[in-house]
């Protein structure tokens, strides 16, 4: 059985799953219960500056009957007194020596204030500190949270202050509300941080109520941007995680990264590990289903690792990072075409309409005799299930015209029904970067491009 334990910048935990700094880790009672359920660690809900909260704090995005594909919130950092939090952190850490107890902090941008909070956290016996440079609402207007994370210089300055007094590992948590996540990460590296974590929540307005015309969630007639999180943000988080790993400075620093942003299942978790995370934080999924989900997070990850022959988390971390590249390095000669398994096809025609309306018009409807037929070609005086099912045309890809866009694959509701088959293009592998170097004129002049295509046998449909 795979060993799920981790040592993250010196912070040890029996599995890589930590509660993210958020409502689930708001109190000793909750963290205690989470640890009972099996969580490897918890990043305590951010403590620091005094705050007051509002009600109607959480909005959610539901789609097609599926609840909470994303949540947004205008809740601030902990509104419980600092002393209460520090006392409970001390008690929890004492009760759970094998779990990772990390404390998230956010205070005014003053050296002494940061020194004070770091010292007080260290007195609790906590295993690490996470600097919250990410909250996009409430705290940012007061010059904290994302107001820091969005300015690499602030990020670096505060991290330096923290590192002056830190005796336990310090994790810098990054905001995704920035055009290039690498910049604040480099600042943190430069300031001597021990680790990074990402992503915090995204700026968002979750919606408008069509009955009342109020913003969701409604706070006394008003509403505004809040932090967006949950399954819907995962792809954004994965991209930012990979960007750090691929950056020569950040990736080269070998600082461990705690990944988060929409992790709901062990499958999501494995993807974060493969793209460079070595600890994982979870919030929205816990807020949806409770602490119990950690069981399958661990069980599923462990079973997958066993199947793949990965003995420990470090075997997985960053394993797919080498495959992350950018467009200029993709092989322009790589060719894939869609193939439909007629046995599995249920004839919903979703691939047909997607291809014909919005992609490359290379899927045909065919009747039983193999003739291409238009849609709605049945006699309107016929009806009944036998007639509808037996006369229904089947969908066929004209492979020679298929550009391999993969839209049909994405819309198909049946697993493994449409597969993207790798087909030899008959051309030598070549990248845009190589063409730019060897045939610069092709990248600048459509006539030259035409000649190049003809020469290489590239047909555009």
């Amino acid at each position: 059985m795979a060993d799920l334990s981790i040592n993250f910048a010196g912070i040890r935990s029996p599995n890589p799953f930590w509660l993210a700094s958020a409502p689930p880790s708001n109190s000793g009672l909750q963290v205690h219960r989470a640890f009972e359920a099996g969580w490897g660690g918890a990043v305590w809900k951010t403590i620091g500056a005094p705050v007051l909260n509002v009600s109607n704090r959480y909005g959610a995005w539901h789609y097609a009957g599926q609840k909470m594909l994303a949540i947004n919130n205008v809740e601030l950092i902990s509104d419980r007194p600092l002393e209460v939090n520090l006392r409970e952190i001390t008690e929890v850490k004492r009760a759970w020596p094998d779990r990772a107890v990390v404390v998230s902090a956010m205070v005014e941008s003053k050296r002494e204030t940061w020194h004070d909070i770091i010292r007080r956290i260290q007195d609790t016996g906590a295993d690490g500190i996470e600097l919250n440079y990410g909250c996009p609402h409430g705290m940012s207007e007061r010059g904290m949270g994302s107001a820091v994370g969005q300015v690499p210089e602030y990020c670096e300055q505060i991290t330096r202050w923290v590192m002056e007094v830190a005796r336990i590992p310090v994790i810098v948590k990054l905001t995704p509300n920035i055009s290039d996540i690498v910049m604040p990460a480099r600042a943190a590296v430069s300031a001597g941080a021990n680790a990074l974590s990402l992503i915090n929540t995204l700026n968002s307005i979750i919606g408008v109520d069509l009955d009342t015309l109020e913003i969701t969630p409604n706070i006394g007639g008003k509403g505004g941007h809040g932090g967006y999180a949950g399954p819907a943000v995962k792809p954004i988080a994965l991209n930012m995680l990979a960007a750090l790993g691929k950056d020569p400075v950040v990736g080269g620093s070998k600082l461990p990264i705690s990944g988060m942003g929409g992790i709901s299942t062990w499958r999501d978790a494995a993807e974060f590990l493969l793209l460079g995370a070595s600890s994982l934080q979870v919030c929205t999924a816990v807020m949806h289903y409770g602490f119990r989900i950690v069981e399958d997070l661990c069980d599923g990850l462990s079973n997958w690792m066993d199947e793949k022959g990965f003995a420990r988390i470090t075997d997985v971390t960053g394993r797919s990072l080498q495959r992350v590249s950018d467009f200029s390095n993709f092989d322009l000669s790589f060719r894939a075409v869609a193939r439909i398994d007629q046995q599995k096809c249920i004839r919903c025609n979703l691939c047909y309409v997607a291809c014909n309306d919005t992609a490359h018009q290379c899927i045909d409807l065919m009747d039983k005799d193999g003739h291409v037929v238009p849609p709605q070609s049945y006699d309107i005086r016929t009806n009944g299930k036998e007639e509808a099912v037996n006369k229904r045309p089947s969908v066929h890809v004209r492979e020679e015209d298929c550009v391999g866009c993969r839209l049909c694959y994405n819309v198909c509701p049946v697993e493994d029904c449409i597969r993207m088959m790798e087909e030899p293009s008959g051309r030598q592998p070549v990248t845009w970067a190589q063409i730019s170097e060897s045939h610069r004129e092709v990248t600048e002049d459509w006539e030259k491009m035409k000649e190049y295509r003809e020469k290489m046998g590239i047909h555009i449909h």
Partner: protein
């Protein structure tokens, strides 16, 4: 449980069987629909309702648009949502049917229709008056559909109905458990609001003549349904209750409906099943359905057969009634013969043949017959050409009389008679009538 307790427990059990979907149930079910392109459910529906379209409108909570989508193809969407054999039609063709549960199309349609009728929504406004008049004879589903479609196009339509209430079998002949009478009457009201003039108590051949119609109307649509329940021709038949009357009374005069303790229902079609359901649910302790062929040849839909078996109704297949035993007006048994199946008859089904000397008595204190209806009697009155006794029509639903069209059960020489087919006939005939009257200028 004693019989008395059973009766109480079964009181009011002819209320609509399926509860309406809640908003959340409808949302979840609508979300499950894949939104097939050129969907097979739409092809399978005789009226070709754009089903994915109305379902996705439920998903987006555009219920007004959803209802309109349904009614554009089928003016009797509320009835069809309840009585359609969806297993044989839309739901039977659902692409999710093979590995998953098909979408509950019928119940979603009812959800949208309940919304529209609950809001008293006027979905359609009649077009500018054409000044042309059309007579529709018989206010069942085919007649209502035809009348409504023509009224939408601006025709002045008079709908003649011999009974007191319009709606035809939806009002009188489908048990309340499948369709409450209020649903049928709400549809009648909707058609009337389109400008259709309804005249009840008017019957062709009694107080209405073809000459009247020819004088006053540019075209006629016959939607007269079928005749009375067929005669068995057995001694004591006068003691047998007519199944259609039985159903009608259960809907419109339930307190006075007499239900036997031991009821025998003759027939094995959908009407027979409705009769057995009434008997069982209103207190009969034993209900037996008698059919001269076997289970395989039954004309009832498979899902209705499953339903009635779960109701605890017994079956006596290969059984031919030959005589009613009654004493001072009270039935006490049905004498029957055992049958075997011989070679195929005209209907293509094996012909039942009696076994000599196999007479036996089925004890019963009430016998109900639902053995099909006579062919439309109007045929001889109007000297119409027929096909197997049904009114013969061409591809445009025109009968052998110029300008006289027909649709619904009265023309159903082929295929199963159903409400939805009648609605489609009415719709297509309205189109033909429209083309005819436009062409005449």
């Amino acid at each position: 449980m004693t019989d008395i307790q059973l009766r109480t427990a079964h009181a009011n059990t002819l209320n609509e069987l399926l509860p309406p979907l809640s908003r959340n149930e409808a949302a979840v079910e609508a979300a499950r629909c894949l939104m097939c392109y050129d969907a097979p459910c739409t092809h399978a529906c005789p009226t070709h309702i754009d089903i994915p379209k109305f379902i996705k409108k439920i998903a987006t909570q555009n219920l007004r648009g959803s209802a309109r989508t349904i009614l554009e193809s089928n003016l009797l969407g509320a009835t069809c949502a309840r009585v359609c054999p969806v297993q044989e039609l839309c739901e039977g063709a659902c692409v999710l049917g093979t590995e998953h549960k098909p979408i509950a199309i019928g119940r979603l349609q009812r959800y949208a229709m309940d919304f529209a009728y609950g809001k008293g929504m006027d979905v359609f406004q009649p077009a500018k008056a054409t000044g042309k008049r059309v007579a529709v004879i018989g206010a069942g589903p085919a007649g209502l559909s035809c009348a409504g479609e023509l009224a939408k196009r601006g025709y002045s339509v008079t709908l003649f109905e011999k009974r007191d209430l319009a709606g035809g079998l939806s009002t009188y002949g489908i048990i309340g458990l499948r369709e409450p009478v209020e649903v049928a009457l709400a549809e009648v009201t909707m058609i009337a609001k389109l400008g259709v003039k309804l005249e009840t108590g008017r019957e062709l051949g009694t107080n209405l003549t073809l000459a009247d119609l020819n004088t006053n109307f540019g075209a006629v649509f016959l939607s007269v349904g079928l005749g009375v329940t067929t005669t068995l021709g057995i001694p004591g038949e006068e003691h047998i209750v007519d199944g259609l009357d039985y159903i009608e009374q259960s809907k419109l005069d339930a307190p006075n409906l007499v239900i036997g303790r031991n009821v025998v229902v003759i027939g094995a079609g959908n009407t027979a099943i409705d009769c057995a359901t009434i008997a069982r649910r209103l207190g009969a302790s034993q209900v037996t359905m008698v059919y001269r062929r076997s289970e395989k040849e039954m004309t009832a839909y498979a899902h209705e057969y499953d339903f009635i078996k779960r109701e605890g109704v017994r079956f006596s297949f290969l059984t031919q009634p030959v005589r009613v035993h009654a004493e001072s007006g009270s039935v006490n048994a049905l004498e029957c013969l055992r049958m075997t199946l011989g070679p195929a008859d005209a209907s293509g089904r094996p012909s039942p043949q009696s076994v000599a000397g196999s007479e036996f008595l089925l004890p019963a204190d009430q016998i109900v017959k639902a053995t099909g209806q006579e062919k439309p009697s109007i045929v001889s009155l109007l000297k119409l050409k027929t096909e197997k006794g049904f009114i013969q029509v061409d591809a445009n639903f025109e009968t052998s009389l110029t300008g006289v069209y027909a649709g619904g059960d009265c023309i159903r020489a082929r295929g199963a008679a159903s409400t939805v087919m009648a609605v489609q006939d009415g719709k297509l005939a309205a189109q033909s009538i429209h083309e005819r009257l436009v062409a005449r200028g």
